[in-house]
């Protein structure tokens, strides 16, 4: 009977009976996409905010047409007083408005606001645009009255389409979904990995297991596969749940469409398997060195920074080098990015990074097996 398989079966059964491990593997896959969906709801509603801008208008009796125009643009007079923490946005219309308009003199309308206030940026811009639009309208009438084609005053028609912010926000959304998927293999098997290494030591059963007639390789791979099974299960669960949950997020409102097709998800799943093995190997390496469960948990939370840095870091730093396609972790991330953007996949890169991931995991496994032969590690000398 194969010892690795024997240990795998025993550890898997053991872990399945551990409610904490099962819950840890499931909760990430369940609550993660949920949380993300909620965050996106907020983001989308903010981006497509159609509500009125409320400002203070001084001297509105002097220019009722302007006020009416503003109202049509969704800019209304504020009824409640401004809160202390917010700088008021105030538009002042001078008393000589009607007279100066009549004489075709420039009227000075003052907009007072705090341009550095991040939250009011869009509101201030909307007021600016509305006033400018009204001014353009007046220009229009005046020129027509004088028999001039108003287009004369517009030699260039700059067509501004505000896609930039939406585009980057969409990339951010998809980027975080990908990071979430990649993290699922690190998260779901974590509890099992700690339990069968540091936990085994803490429960004083490690010494007896190591005294049995089998190689430390069998022990490491049996245990590694048990934790990997949980990691893979967690990954599969989040891959299944993400499309379902994202069905309910109105991504189309910000001009985004993500197509989670079945072949794409299957490909992602296959690519995640070597990564799950690597994640488990790293976790076992760390937690076999820890004296107890708690210590292992502390070290492993540091370990979670690696996948986050590798995926978020690359995303934010806009790092673009072909090497990323071939390395473990970044390779999977790049392939996922291409998949979700509907671009062609760098197949060579994806395969090389998969093999590299597998090789790295195997090397770490052999290292742990050697570690378990060392009395320093086993007895913490």
């Amino acid at each position: 009977m194969n010892m690795t398989a024997l240990i795998w079966r025993k550890e898997f059964k053991d872990a399945l009976r551990d409610k904490r491990s099962v819950l840890a593997a499931m909760s990430y896959a369940f609550f993660g996409p949920m949380l993300m969906a909620v965050a996106f709801f907020f983001l989308i509603s903010q981006l497509t905010d159609p509500s009125d801008v409320e400002i203070s208008i001084e001297g509105k009796e002097h220019a009722p047409e302007l006020v009416q125009h503003l109202q049509l643009q969704g800019i209304v007079e504020r009824q409640q007083p401004w809160p202390d923490t917010v700088t008021p946005i105030t538009l002042s219309i001078p008393a000589q408005w009607a007279e100066q308009i009549k004489r075709a003199e420039p009227v000075t309308v003052t907009l007072r606001a705090d341009w550095s206030a991040q939250k009011q940026q869009t509101e201030i811009k909307r007021v600016e645009r509305a006033v400018q639009a009204y001014a353009a309208q007046i220009t229009h009438y005046r020129m027509i009255l004088r028999g001039i084609d108003p287009r004369m005053a517009q030699p260039i028609n700059l067509s501004k389409q505000d896609l930039a912010t939406r585009g980057s926000k969409a990339a951010l959304i998809m980027g975080s979904v990908l990071v979430f998927i990649i993290l699922s293999v690190f998260w779901s098997g974590m509890n099992v990995a700690i339990d069968i290494s540091a936990g085994e030591r803490e429960r004083n059963s490690l010494e007896f297991l190591l005294s049995q007639p089998l190689s430390t390789q069998s022990i490491v791979w049996g245990k590694g596969l048990a934790a990997t099974s949980f990691a893979v299960f967690g990954a599969a669960l989040s891959l299944v749940l993400i499309p379902i949950i994202f069905n309910y997020v109105p991504l189309q409102e910000i001009g985004m469409s993500v197509n989670f097709s079945v072949p794409m998800m299957l490909l992602m799943f296959v690519l995640l398997i070597p990564l799950a093995l690597l994640a488990t190997a790293l976790q076992l390496f760390v937690s076999f060195r820890a004296k107890n469960f708690k210590e292992a948990q502390t070290y492993i939370s540091f370990l979670l920074i690696i996948p986050m840095a590798a995926s978020f870091g690359v995303e934010f730093a806009r790092l673009k080098t072909p090497i990323l396609y071939y390395l473990p972790l970044t390779g999977q991330h790049q392939t996922f990015l291409s998949l979700i953007r509907g671009e062609g996949v760098n197949w060579l890169g994806a395969s090389v990074s998969a093999v590299a991931t597998l090789v790295l995991a195997l090397l770490i496994g052999q290292l742990i097996a050697r570690m378990l032969k060392s009395e320093k590690t086993v007895f913490g000398l």
Partner: protein, 244 residues
Amino acid sequence: MINVQRLSKSFKEVQALDNLSFSAPDGQITGLLGPNGAGKTTCLRIIYGLLKSEQGEALINGIDANQDPINARRQIGIFPDKFGLYERLTVREQIRYFAQLHGLSGMELEQRTELVINQLDMSSLANRKSAGFSQGQRMKVALAQALVHNPKHLILDEPSRGLDVMSTRILRDILREQRAQGTCILFSSHVMQEVAALCDRVVVMAKGRVAAEGTPQELCELTGESALEEAFVKIIGSDEGIAA
């Protein structure tokens, strides 16, 4: 037959074993008697290959566990210093697991598992998970794990610690049964009564060395004392760390 020859081992500045030699013959119970910190556990861990000696060798049936740990360990059943149980597995599952690790399968696996469960009189525990077991019950499970593959050698590290009278009796009966089958039994203890009641041969250890060796009777004669306890104190030169 377990043969320990000139073992030396140190941890940083502490010399745990210092040129230790003794042997445990088949069909006899050899007691490793010594105060706390004498190096008993270190010696046993070297025998089953978890620690490496700096000098000398420990042979189980002629095999050095430092050279060939897998074959050496096939020959032995171990009751370790720390015996944690898998509390989410039932007793039967645990015993079967270790039987399988020793290569048992099929009919032999089932028979040996049932046999050892009956031998230790724990049929009523067999399908329970070991969480919440008493010290005596835990000892039984650990002993079953050591015995299930019917080893030719038994190495027990202070098996009677924390046991009540009834559990101690069961343990002794089992060890005597094993001796009758020709098993080589090596066990460490710092409990005098137990050694006197059970052992055919006693190896008295102090500060990593063999202080004296022989039957309990011989040790008493050697020191001119009538009780083993007095003989022991005389041999190691102090009464530190001994339980009567």
